[in-house]
C-alpha cells in the first residue's frame, strides 16, 4: 500500500494515499469543494479558480525538520492568499478550510465572474437540471448580478465543432476540460483554444471537424451546456428522463451504459431512448464511451424493425401467428435431420446462444458462429479471468496487440492500453502497417501479411523486444483479425495461446489471451461451444438453415449462392435485412433495449443489460423464440425467464459455474466518486447501481490441465497474387455499413465512402491517384472504391474495409482497375 497522509479538512481528520489532490481527498470524505476545470480523470490545471480554499501547513523547525509545537499541537501557518485545492496535493498535518469566510468569499467571487459572461439561458439549455454551473451557482453564487445586462457579450450559439458536437460559445466557461480530455485521455488533440482573454474560444483543429471517436465524452464532462451532442441537442430535459442500465452491444469491450428514455409526442407517444450515457465501471470503460456506442443505438428504433412473424406464401412474405411461424420452422428443421444448421452471431445474448446451442445438441443439427474470426476455443481456455484490470496495469505488464487496429475495433481498449503504457506497461504492437496505437508502443513491429504467426513466435527468440516481453511479470495478448480471415486468425490464436502457455502466463490475473472480436458477444458464443466453419458456403448449401442475428446475404455473394440452394431458411432478427428478404420464415426479435440478458465481453466479463423501452410489435426475445421452435421439435428449453436460462447455462458450462443474475448485479464502491447528484465533479456519467459484472473462470485457473492444438503457420491462408493483381486484406472500420450502425443517420458522414487503401507506389504502378474511384474485383465479387494512400502499407497490398460494400472476408488476390 502506498504511503498514507493524514490531514484535516474543515475540522475532519482524514487519511488518504500520498499524492492525492486536495479536491479529490475532500470528496472521499464527503466534503464537496466546488470545481469546474478540475476533473478526477484529468491533470489539474488550476484555471477556473473555483476551488479556492485556505491552506495551512505545519511549521517545521529548520534544524531538526520536526514540527514546531504550539499548545501541544503542531503550529500551523496559513498562506496569505487563497490556494486552489485542485493543484495542491495532500501533505502531512495540512489544515484546510473550505468554508471559512475567506474561502467562501473567493468561491463566490469566481461564480460571479463566470456569470458575467454566461447567458443564463438555463430554461432552454440541454444541461439545465444536470449542470454544474447551475448547481454551484445555487450553492455559492450571488443572488443578484452586479454586472450590467446590457454589457453582456453575445456570441455564436451554434458552432459545429464537427457534425456530432456543437459548441455554444456564450455558455462556454473556458475550463478546457474538453481540450484536456482530448489531449490527455483520448490522445486525439483535435480541439483547442483560439484567441485569448475574453475572446478565448474552443475551435476544432482537424478536418473533418472534431476528428475523434471519443468526442461525445466532452459533452458529459462539460460543466456547462456549451458542448452538446447533435443527437441529444434540444432533445429533452434531463429531469424528464428515465434511466436504465445497459451494456453497449457494438464491440467486445462491453462498456456499461445507461439508456435515458422518455415518452414523447414526436414518437407517437412511445417511450424512446433519448441518449446513451456511460455508466461507471472502472474495470471496463471507466466513465467513457466511444461515439459509436453513444450514437449507433438508433438501429433499435429503425423503421425497418421487424414487428410480426411472417411466412412465405406464394413467394411473398405474409403475416403469420407465432405458433404457425415457429411450427413451420420446426417442421422443416425436424425434416432436415442432420441437415439442420443454425447460424448465429455474437449480437445475441448468452441466453439466446445457449438455447440455440442446446437445440442443435438435442436435435441432429449443427450450430455455427457467424464470424470472420476464429480462435475463441482458445480464448475460452487461456483467456483472462477474475482480477484482470487494464486500469491497474503498468510497469511489470507486457501488453501485446497483434493484427488489430484497436482504435477502430475496440476504442475503449485503445484508451485503456494507451494509459497502461503511460503508467509503464511494455506495449508491443505487431501489425503489417501502422496503427494509431503505435505512438504509445514501446515496440512497434511490422511483419508481412501471412507472417503473423512467426511474428508472435519471434517474441520468444532473443531480441530487444523479446527481452522486454520476457522480463514482464504479466502478459496480456490481444489478437484481432486485421488483415486476416478465419484461417489466419485461427493460426494466430494458436500461436498466441502457445506462447502464453510456454511462458506460464495463463490462469492468473492480468495474464491471458483476448480476442478482439467483431461483435459484442462472440466470446460468449465460444464459451457456450459455438465454432466457426471455414467453408460456410458448403455448410449451408442444401440445408435447412436457422439464421439468427446475422445478415450473410448482404455480406457475401458466395453465401447468397449457397443460400439460394438451401432447402429452407428461417431468419430471426431485429430489423429487415437482405437475408430476411429471402427467408421462408421471418421471426421478429426484440432489440437489446427492450429486454433483459447478459453478454460476455472480450475480457470474459459477464454483464447484465436491462429492458428500457417497450417491445416493438410482437417481437420476442431470441431465447424465447428458439424455445418455441424447440418445443415444436420436441425439445424443451426454458423460454419465459431469462434468468432461469442463465441458471441452466451456469450449470452446464463450466466457466459460468456459480454465476447467477444476483451476482452479476453486485456493485462495490468505485473511485473516483462520480454519477451521483454531484455532476460538478465527474460529469454526467451515471453511477453503477446495476452490476459491475463478473469474470468467467478459466481452465488453468481452475487447476485443469490445458492442452493446446498444434500451431499452423498461417502462410497457407494468404493467396499469392498473380501479375497485375494485389493482395487485398480485410480491415475493420469503426463506422461501417453494418446492420447496427447504418440506421444511425447521424453517423453517415463518418461512415463515408468505400475506400481501398494503397501504398503510394502501388497506386503509381496502377496509374491511379488518391480520391480516384476504382473497380475492385475478385472471385465473382466486384465493387467500386475510392483510393486512399497510406505509406505505412506494404507495396502490393490493398486494404479493404469490412462491411463497406465489397464482400471481403479473408485475404484475396484482387484486380484493381481505374
Amino acid at each position: 500500500m502506498s504511503k498514507q497522509v493524514t490531514l484535516t479538512i474543515d475540522g475532519k481528520q482524514i487519511t488518504v494515499p500520498d499524492g492525492t489532490g486536495l479536491a479529490d481527498a475532500a470528496k472521499m470524505v464527503g466534503i464537496d469543494i466546488p470545481v469546474f476545470c478540475h476533473h478526477p480523470k484529468l491533470e489539474p490545471v488550476g484555471m477556473c479558480r473555483m476551488c479556492l480554499v485556505e491552506i495551512g501547513r505545519p511549521v517545521r523547525d529548520r534544524a531538526t525538520g520536526q514540527f514546531v509545537m504550539e499548545n501541544g499541537a503542531p503550529k500551523i501557518q496559513f498562506m496569505p492568499k487563497l490556494e486552489t485545492a485542485c493543484t495542491n496535493k495532500v501533505e502531512e498535518g495540512m489544515v484546510v478550510l473550505t468554508q471559512s469566510a475567506k474561502a467562501t468569499d473567493g468561491q463566490k467571487g469566481t461564480v460571479e465572474f463566470l456569470l458575467t459572461s454566461h447567458p443564463l439561458d438555463c430554461p432552454i439549455c440541454d444541461k439545465g437540471g444536470e449542470c454544474p454551473l447551475q448547481n454551484l451557482t445555487m450553492a455559492h453564487g450571488p443572488g443578484k448580478s452586479r454586472f450590467s445586462y446590457n454589457e453582456k457579450l453575445h456570441l455564436d450559439k451554434m458552432v459545429p465543432l464537427g457534425e456530432l458536437i456543437y459548441l455554444d460559445r456564450e455558455r462556454c466557461i473556458q475550463c478546457a476540460r474538453c481540450i484536456r480530455f482530448q489531449d490527455e485521455v483520448a490522445g486525439d488533440a483535435v480541439i483547442g483554444f483560439d484567441e485569448r482573454g475574453r475572446s478565448t474560444q474552443i475551435v476544432s483543429l482537424s478536418d473533418p471537424g472534431f476528428d475523434s471517436v471519443f468526442s461525445g465524452n466532452t459533452s458529459d464532462i462539460c460543466p456547462v451546456g456549451a458542448l452538446t451532442t447533435a443527437d441529444f441537442r434540444f432533445g429533452a430535459r434531463p429531469w424528464e428522463l428515465q434511466a436504465q442500465a445497459s451494456v453497449c452491444t457494438q464491440c467486445p469491450v462491453g462498456c456499461n451504459t445507461t439508456l435515458n428514455t422518455r415518452r414523447e409526442a414526436k414518437s407517437d407517444g412511445d417511450i424512446v431512448v433519448k441518449r446513451v450515457m456511460p455508466r461507471q465501471n472502472e474495470e471496463v470503460n471507466e466513465i467513457w464511451l466511444c461515439d459509436k456506442g453513444r450514437f449507433a443505438y438508433h438501429y433499435a428504433e429503425s423503421k425497418q424493425r421487424l414487428s410480426k412473424p411472417q411466412v412465405r406464401k406464394d413467394k411473398k412474405l405474409t403475416r403469420a401467428s407465432w405458433d404457425a411461424a415457429t411450427k413451420l420452422a420446426a417442421d422443416n428443421f425436424l425434416k432436415a435431420k442432420k441437415d439442420f444448421v443454425i447460424l448465429a452471431s455474437g449480437r445475441l445474448s448468452n441466453e439466446d446462444l445457449f438455447n440455440l446451442k442446446t437445440l442443435a445438441d438435442h436435435s441432429e443439427g449443427k450450430a455455427y458462429l457467424y464470424s470472420d474470426m476464429a480462435g475463441g476455443e482458445l480464448t475460452s481456455l487461456v483467456g483472462v479471468s477474475a482480477g484482470t484490470d487494464f486500469g491497474k496495469m503498468g510497469a511489470g505488464t507486457a501488453i501485446v496487440v497483434v493484427a488489430s487496429d484497436l482504435y477502430q475495433e475496440a476504442p475503449i481498449w485503445y484508451l485503456r492500453i494507451k494509459q497502461a503504457a503511460k503508467r509503464g506497461a511494455t506495449l508491443i504492437v505487431l501489425n503489417p502497417r501502422e496503427t494509431k496505437l503505435d505512438r504509445y508502443a514501446s515496440f512497434a513491429v511490422r511483419y508481412e501479411h501471412g507472417d503473423e504467426v512467426k511474428a508472435v513466435q519471434d517474441l520468444s527468440k532473443k531480441s530487444k523486444v523479446s527481452d522486454a516481453f520476457m522480463k514482464a511479470e504479466n502478459t496480456i495478448i490481444l489478437y484481432g483479425s486485421d488483415g486476416l480471415g478465419v484461417t489466419g486468425s485461427a493460426s494466430l490464436a494458436s500461436a498466441c495461446a502457445k506462447l502464453l502457455q510456454e511462458n506460464e502466463r495463463i490462469g492468473k490475473p492480468n495474464n491471458g489471451l483476448i480476442g478482439v472480436w467483431e461483435r459484442a458477444n462472440d466470446q460468449g458464443a465460444w464459451e457456450i461451444g459455438f465454432n466457426v466453419e471455414e467453408d460456410l458456403a458448403k455448410a449451408l448449401k442444401g440445408k435447412s438453415v436457422y439464421i439468427v442475428g446475422a445478415d450473410p446475404v448482404a455480406d457475401d455473394p458466395k453465401l447468397v449462392k449457397a443460400l439460394e440452394g438451401a432447402e429452407f431458411i428461417a431468419v430471426q432478427d431485429v430489423i429487415e435485412t437482405a437475408t430476411t428478404e429471402i427467408a421462408d420464415v421471418v421471426l421478429p426479435a426484440q432489440a437489446f433495449t427492450e429486454r433483459e440478458g447478459t453478454l460476455t465481453s472480450g475480457e470474459r466479463r459477464v454483464q447484465r443489460f436491462y429492458p428500457a423501452v417497450p417491445v416493438t410489435g410482437e417481437a420476442k426475445p431470441d431465447f424465447s423464440i428458439t424455445s418455441q421452435i424447440a418445443r415444436h421439435m420436441g425439445v424443451i428449453l426454458e423460454g419465459t425467464s431469462v434468468s432461469a436460462v442463465f441458471d441452466i447455462l451456469a450449470e452446464s458450462v463450466k466457466s459460468f459455474e456459480g454465476l447467477d443474475y444476483a451476482k452479476l448485479a453486485e456493485v462495490k464502491p468505485q473511485l473516483p466518486i462520480v454519477g451521483r447528484g454531484d455532476v460538478y465533479y465527474g460529469g454526467t456519467t451515471y453511477e453503477n447501481k446495476h452490476g459491475l459484472g463478473v469474470h468467467l473462470s478459466v481452465a488453468a485457473g481452475r487447476g485443469e490441465k490445458v492442452s493446446l492444438p498444434k500451431v499452423h503457420a498461417s502462410r497457407e491462408a494468404v493467396p499469392s497474387p498473380k501479375d497485375k493483381e494485389l493482395l487485398a486484406v480485410p480491415v475493420t472500420k469503426l463506422y461501417d455499413r453494418g446492420t447496427t450502425v447504418l440506421p444511425a443517420e447521424l453517423l453517415h458522414e463518418r461512415i463515408g465512402e468505400t475506400t481501398i487503401a494503397l501504398h503510394p507506389e502501388t497506386a503509381q504502378n496502377l496509374s491511379v491517384e488518391a480520391g480516384q474511384t476504382v473497380n475492385v474485383s475478385f472471385n465473382g465479387v466486384s465493387g467500386e472504391a475510392v483510393v486512399k494512400l497510406d505509406d505505412t502499407i506494404s507495396v502490393g497490398i490493398a486494404l479493404l474495409p469490412r462491411s463497406m460494400g465489397i464482400a471481403i472476408r479473408e485475404p484475396v488476390a484482387v484486380k484493381v482497375k481505374a
Binding site: P44, V45, G46, M47, C48, R49, M50, L52, P80, K81, L82, T84, T87, G106, G109, T110, E112, F113, L114, T116, S117, R146, F147, S148, E151, L153, I173, Q174, G192, F193, E195, R196, G197, R198, S199, T200
Partner: protein, 416 residues
C-alpha cells in the same frame, strides 16, 4: 560616471565584436570556462548581491543555485519579451551592447551547466533578433560559442526565438510554454523553472538587463559591484523614464538614486513646469505613489525603500504623472491594456479585466456614478490574490491604488 550596462553610449561601435573584445569583452567568459568551476561563477554572482532586473528583484545567484542537478539537461532562457508598457531598456541593450548581454547569458549557462540557451523576444523585435542572430553566428565563427570552447569540453549554442506578440509571454512560465510551441499561458507554480522548466527540464530564466550585469561582475569582482547602489540593492539599474517629463529615456543609475534626481537632474523636470502628482515606478502594473508631499521625491529608488511607499520598484519603468493627467483616463488605459492582454486561462483575470474595462469606460465616458467607482474597486479587489499568475493582480494595482489614494479625482467625474 561611466556606464556599466549602456557602455555603447561612451564607446562607439561597441556592437561590433572587435570593438567589444578590444574593450575587455569575452575575457570573463573565457576565464570562467577555462579557469573556474561552474559553482564559482554562481558564487561570485551570489556575493555581488545582484537581483533580477525583470521586476521581481529576486537574488540572481540564489536562483542559479536552485537549479536541480539531478535532472538534465539544463537550459538558460533570456527573457527579452520586454512587454511592460513603459519599459524600453532591453531593446537598447540588445541593439547597443549586444555582446555584453550575450556574454552574461553565456556565463549563466556555464554556471548552471546548460549547453543551450534561448533568447525569447517579443515578435516586434524581429529586427533585433536578426541582428542578434548575426552576432551569434559571428561568435560561433570566432570560437566563442559552439562546440568545445577554448579547448575545453564545454559547448554552448544560443538560439533566438520570436514570440507572437503577447504581454503574458513575459511571465516566465507562459514564456516557456510559448517557447515550447504551445499557447502562451502561464503554468501553475510551484514547480518553479529551476526545478521544472523548458521541456520539463531545469531552467534558469533571467531578464536581459540581469545578464548584462554579469560580465562586469565577473571581470571586476563582487566587491566592486557592491560599491554601487545600496546594501539591499547593490549595483546599477536602468530606469526607463516616461510620462510627463521633459526628457524621457533610459537612465542608468545606481540603485538608491532618488526620484528627484531621476526626474529633475536627468529627466529635465516635468513638462510645462507642472508638479509631480503621482509616480508609477513599474510601468502599467504599478501602484500609484502619491506625491502629495515634496519629500516623497527624495525617496531612494531601491527595492526595499520603494516598498515603504506602498509600491514596487519592479522593472523601474518610471512613469511620471502630473496634475494634467486625469486618473480616470489613466486607469481606463491600463485596464484596457490588461483586458487586451489577459490570456484567458483563469476566470478572475479573463472576466475581471473585461468587467473592469466596461466600468472604467463608463466612468471615463462621463456616464459613471459613485456606485460605479465602488463597484470598480470591489471588482478589482475580488480579483486580487485569486488569479493564476501575476498579470491578473497587476491589472488591478493601478485601479485600486488610484481609487484608494485619489478618490476625489473620481468623484469629480461621476454622477452622484
Amino acid at each position: 560616471m561611466a556606464h556599466i550596462l549602456l557602455r555603447h553610449r561612451e564607446i562607439p561601435e561597441l556592437n561590433k565584436l572587435s570593438v567589444y573584445k578590444k574593450n575587455g569583452g569575452w575575457a570573463a567568459f573565457k576565464n570562467a570556462v577555462t579557469k573556474m568551476q561552474p559553482n564559482e561563477v554562481t558564487d561570485v554572482v551570489k556575493n555581488s548581491g545582484l537581483r533580477g532586473r525583470g521586476g521581481a528583484g529576486f537574488p540572481t545567484g540564489m536562483k542559479w543555485s536552485f537549479i536541480d542537478n539531478k535532472n538534465w539537461p539544463h537550459y538558460v532562457v533570456a527573457n527579452a519579451d520586454e512587454s511592460e508598457p513603459g519599459t524600453f531598456k532591453d531593446r537598447e541593450i540588445m541593439e547597443g551592447n549586444p555582446f555584453q548581454f550575450l556574454e552574461g547569458l553565456a556565463l549563466a549557462c556555464y554556471a548552471v551547466g546548460a549547453n543551450a540557451a534561448y533568447v525569447y523576444m517579443r515578435g516586434e523585435f524581429w529586427e533585433v533578433a536578426a541582428q542578434l542572430d548575426e552576432k551569434i553566428a559571428e561568435l560561433e565563427a570566432d570560437g566563442i560559442l559552439g562546440e568545445k570552447l577554448f579547448g575545453t569540453e564545454y559547448s554552448l549554442k544560443v538560439y533566438t526565438h520570436l514570440g507572437a506578440g503577447a504581454y503574458i509571454c513575459g511571465e516566465e512560465t507562459a514564456l516557456l510554454e510559448s517557447l515550447e510551441g504551445k499557447r502562451g499561458q502561464p503554468r501553475n507554480r510551484p514547480p518553479f523553472p529551476p526545478a521544472v522548466g523548458l521541456f520539463g527540464k531545469p531552467t534558469i530564466i533571467n531578464n536581459v538587463e540581469t545578464f548584462t550585469n554579469v560580465p562586469m561582475i565577473l571581470a571586476n569582482g563582487a566587491d566592486w559591484y557592491k560599491t554601487m547602489g545600496t546594501a539591499d540593492s547593490p549595483g546599477v539599474k536602468i530606469f526607463s523614464l516616461s510620462g510627463r517629463v521633459r526628457k524621457p529615456g533610459n537612465y542608468e543609475l545606481p540603485l538608491g538614486t532618488t526620484f528627484r534626481e531621476l526626474i529633475y537632474t536627468h529627466g529635465g523636470g516635468v513638462q510645462d513646469s507642472h508638479k509631480v502628482k503621482a509616480i508609477m515606478p513599474a510601468g502599467a502594473s504599478s501602484s500609484l505613489i502619491v506625491v502629495d508631499d515634496d519629500k516623497v521625491l527624495d525617496t531612494p529608488m531601491d527595492y526595499a525603500t520603494v516598498r515603504t511607499l506602498k509600491a514596487e520598484l519592479g522593472s523601474a519603468s518610471v512613469i511620471i504623472i502630473d496634475e494634467t493627467v486625469p486618473l480616470d483616463w489613466l486607469i481606463n488605459k491600463t485596464v484596457h491594456f490588461f483586458r487586451h492582454e489577459s490570456c484567458g486561462k483563469c476566470t478572475p483575470c479573463r472576466e475581471g479585466t473585461y468587467w473592469m474595462s466596461n466600468i472604467t469606460e463608463r466612468i471615463h465616458g462621463g456616464h459613471g456614478t459613485k456606485a460605479d467607482v465602488d463597484l470598480l474597486l470591489n471588482v478589482a479587489k475580488q480579483m486580487q490574490g485569486k488569479c493564476l499568475c501575476a498579470l491578473g493582480d497587476f491589472s488591478t494595482t493601478a485601479v485600486v491604488t488610484s481609487i484608494e489614494r485619489f478618490r476625489q479625482d473620481f468623484d469629480k467625474v461621476v454622477k452622484a
